[in-house]
């Protein structure tokens, strides 16, 4: 019981502090790092509470996709770069980036959090105490969500598939542009090419050179 509350307070403390740091931090890249840390801490809280499906989805969707996408956007848009230069001119360190130590710190915390929470979930599953909802504890909640999703709500599941298909088609229709003059690799052309068609022997006259772009 005491171990559980210690871990609960650790994770919630990290979550709150990193949430504050997201808004306070002046460097956008650092903000995104803290956002990732925040997501991971919250998913650890979910896993501790016995909602392992929600926690894993949080890890996959928010950390794996959304936050990394944010990171890409921030780095591509060069917002962080200007801020960074401003910081560096004060510190007079032109070469070393200040992203790396913060990045290392946050990834180390994330690693330890994951080790603690998943290790605890695997070794001592009875540590969770939120049992006042009548659940069939014999099966994991991934199983029970699946059991409902693929039977009672199968038509909604299928319709969401159609919605995703339509949004994919729409995104392609609106953004895909055929560019002319694009050279594509053709394996068949490359393989079927013969020595006779590719190599030519030329007698080079003295002091004249060869014109190669025929």
């Amino acid at each position: 019981m005491i171990i559980q509350s210690i871990f609960f307070y650790i994770f919630s403390f990290i979550a709150i502090v990193s949430a504050i740091m997201v808004t306070v931090s002046r460097n956008t890249v650092h903000s995104v790092f803290f956002l990732i840390l925040d997501f991971v801490s919250i998913s650890c809280l979910f896993i501790m509470g016995g909602a392992e499906f929600l926690g894993m989805i949080m890890l996959i969707v928010y950390v794996g996709a959304v936050a990394v996408l944010f990171l890409f956007v921030v780095m591509m848009l060069n917002v962080a770069q200007q801020e960074n230069e401003w910081f560096q001119s004060k510190k007079n360190s032109a070469t070393s980036s200040s992203h790396i130590p913060i990045g290392f710190l946050i990834s180390a915390i994330i690693f330890f959090e994951l080790v603690i929470v998943i290790g605890g979930w695997k070794l001592k599953p009875e540590i969770e105490t939120f049992n006042n909802i009548s659940l069939n504890l014999g099966i994991t909640n991934t199983h029970s969500i699946g059991a409902v999703l693929y039977t009672d709500y199968i038509h909604l599941f299928q319709i969401s598939g159609m919605i995703l298909l339509v949004s994919m088609i729409g995104a392609i229709v609106l953004t895909y542009r055929k560019r002319s003059g694009l050279k594509r690799q053709s394996y068949i052309k490359q393989i079927s090419r013969e020595r006779a068609g590719g190599i030519e022997l030329i007698d080079v006259e003295k002091n004249k050179g060869v014109n190669i772009d025929v």
């Binding site: 159609m162 919605i163 298909l165 088609i169 229709v173």
Partner: protein, 471 residues
């Protein structure tokens, strides 16, 4: 498993969407084939749907999906208007260079979303159908992406529609919280007294639905989107989503919340009066025909809502009759618009119609019939549509609504008649091309003849519609 044949049309449509997409991806230059095949698949769906007309009322998928006479009839209307929209617009797509394989596929997916909306008996199913329908519509509105107006209209529609979807979802969550279920039947069983949370939920959902049928004061998107998007999409916007949203509105108001009629009747009456007046007055100054049709459709939706506000079976039936006739009037009008083509360019201003009767007597005649019908002049179909609405409204002694409706009809007649004056009494300006494809001619002839000869046997439609009883 036993009832699977009741959803054959939806299953068939989704399978054909995927099959057509695969054919389009793997076969080069197959746009024409895909376009024709999607018309064929809609025809097959029409036949599958005809079988349902005699089936009993059934709910499927854990009571979330309802098959009854209303859903079958509305699906029939959706499919038939989908077929005519596709038939009439193929030439337009080719001329404006937006004839791509994705176009018919997006149309079909939007129609699939509408079918799901029409049959929905559950808030979640309804929302999923709505999203499927509107996602395809966002893309269709901005399909001509090299045209600034088209991109603008797509963006505008997307942002405003996302906002209204958010409000609608908030309303759904309130209703779920206060009634304890998302299923329409269970909600109606769980409501025993008026709760303010429920009323708030109804208001939010009505806002979302009023946005979809562009009723005043949630109409702001309609003129810009109608004008900006390609005409082939405008005709789709003007007809199909309105039929679907009106069906959902009927089911939503009359199945779970009929006991709360005092709560929502005032809102519907307000929406109806505001739409009728605004649609009639704001259209007067318009010069673009597509924009004018946007205001005209706002006004027509006001009439359909007037039938809904009555709270009786007659009211519902008059509304459904109204949209069935409205469908053919819009189809005929936009088919005429597709015929205004000269040297690979389409014309869409009222000035371009001037003196049309000198060069194109038949086209002018059908425009005359359509515009008279839109204005509600007897003995054309549009008159009967308005007549049934007034009948249902007056039967419940809502004279105020009837008087406002009549006055707005008079105002609206002005701008329809002005177009007719331009056609018949102004100097000839353009001489348009005459080589139209068969589908366009077919849809114009068919819809004009229906408008013209409706008065000979009006009880045919009435008999079918009178089988729709919700209460």
């Amino acid at each position: 498993m036993i009832n699977l044949e009741l959803v054959f049309s939806e299953i068939f449509l989704s399978l054909s969407i995927m099959a057509l997409l695969l054919i389009g991806v793997y076969k080069k230059n197959s746009t024409n084939m895909i376009y024709n095949l999607s018309v064929v698949s809609l025809l097959i769906m029409l036949i599958l749907n005809l079988n349902l007309f005699n089936s009993k009322d059934v709910t499927l998928f854990g009571n979330g999906y309802k098959i009854d006479f209303m859903s079958s009839f509305m699906k029939f209307l959706i499919t038939i208007s989908g077929i005519f929209v596709m038939l009439s617009s193929s030439k337009y797509l080719k001329v404006t260079k937006i004839f791509k394989i994705e176009y018919p596929i997006l149309l079909l997916s939007s129609i699939l979303g509408m079918l799901i909306m029409i049959s929905s008996n559950d808030l979640i199913v309804f929302y999923m159908g709505l999203e499927l329908q509107s996602l395809a519509l966002y893309v269709l509105a901005s399909f001509d992406r090299n045209n600034k107006l088209s991109s603008e209209s797509g963006l505008k529609y997307f942002v405003l529609s996302a906002l209204s979807s958010g409000l609608l979802l908030y309303g759904c969550s309130l209703i779920y919280g206060f009634a304890g279920s998302t299923n329409f039947d269970e909600i109606s069983a769980n409501i025993d007294q008026v709760q303010y949370g429920l009323t708030l939920g109804i208001v939010f959902i009505l806002v979302g639905l009023a946005f979809k049928i562009s009723a005043v004061p949630f109409h702001m998107w309609a003129p810009d989107v109608y004008e900006g998007s390609p005409t082939s999409v405008t005709i789709f916007f003007a007809i199909l989503p309105k039929i679907a949203a009106l069906t959902v509105l009927i089911r939503f108001l009359y199945v779970p919340f009929i006991n709360l009629i005092e709560q929502w009747q005032v809102i519907i009456i307000f929406l109806s009066i505001a739409s009728m007046i605004f649609g009639a007055v704001a259209a007067i100054g318009q010069k673009n025909l597509k924009r004018l049709m946007a205001y005209s459709s706002i006004s027509h939706m006001g009439f359909a809502l007037a039938g809904l506000s009555v709270g009786s079976n007659e009211g519902i039936q008059s509304s459904i009759t109204y949209v069935s006739i409205y469908l053919f009037m819009n189809l005929a009008f936009f088919s005429c618009l597709f015929m205004l083509r000269k040297e690979e360019k389409y014309f869409e201003n009222i000035d371009d119609l001037s003196g049309l009767s000198k060069n194109h007597p038949m086209l002018s005649l059908s425009l005359l019939i359509v515009l008279f019908s839109l204005a509600g002049i007897p003995p054309l179909a549009g008159f009967f549509a308005k007549f049934y609405i007034f009948l249902a409204v007056i039967e419940k002694e809502m004279y105020f609504l009837a008087i406002i409706g009549l006055l707005s009809t008079v105002v609206a007649a002005f701008y329809y008649l002005r177009i007719i004056k331009t056609i018949y009494f102004d100097d000839a300006k353009h001489k348009y091309d005459l080589n139209h494809n068969l589908g366009l001619k077919l849809s114009l002839t068919f819809s004009t003849i229906i408008i013209l000869i409706y008065f000979i046997y009006p009880s045919y439609l009435l008999e079918i519609v009178s089988k729709i009883t919700i209460l």
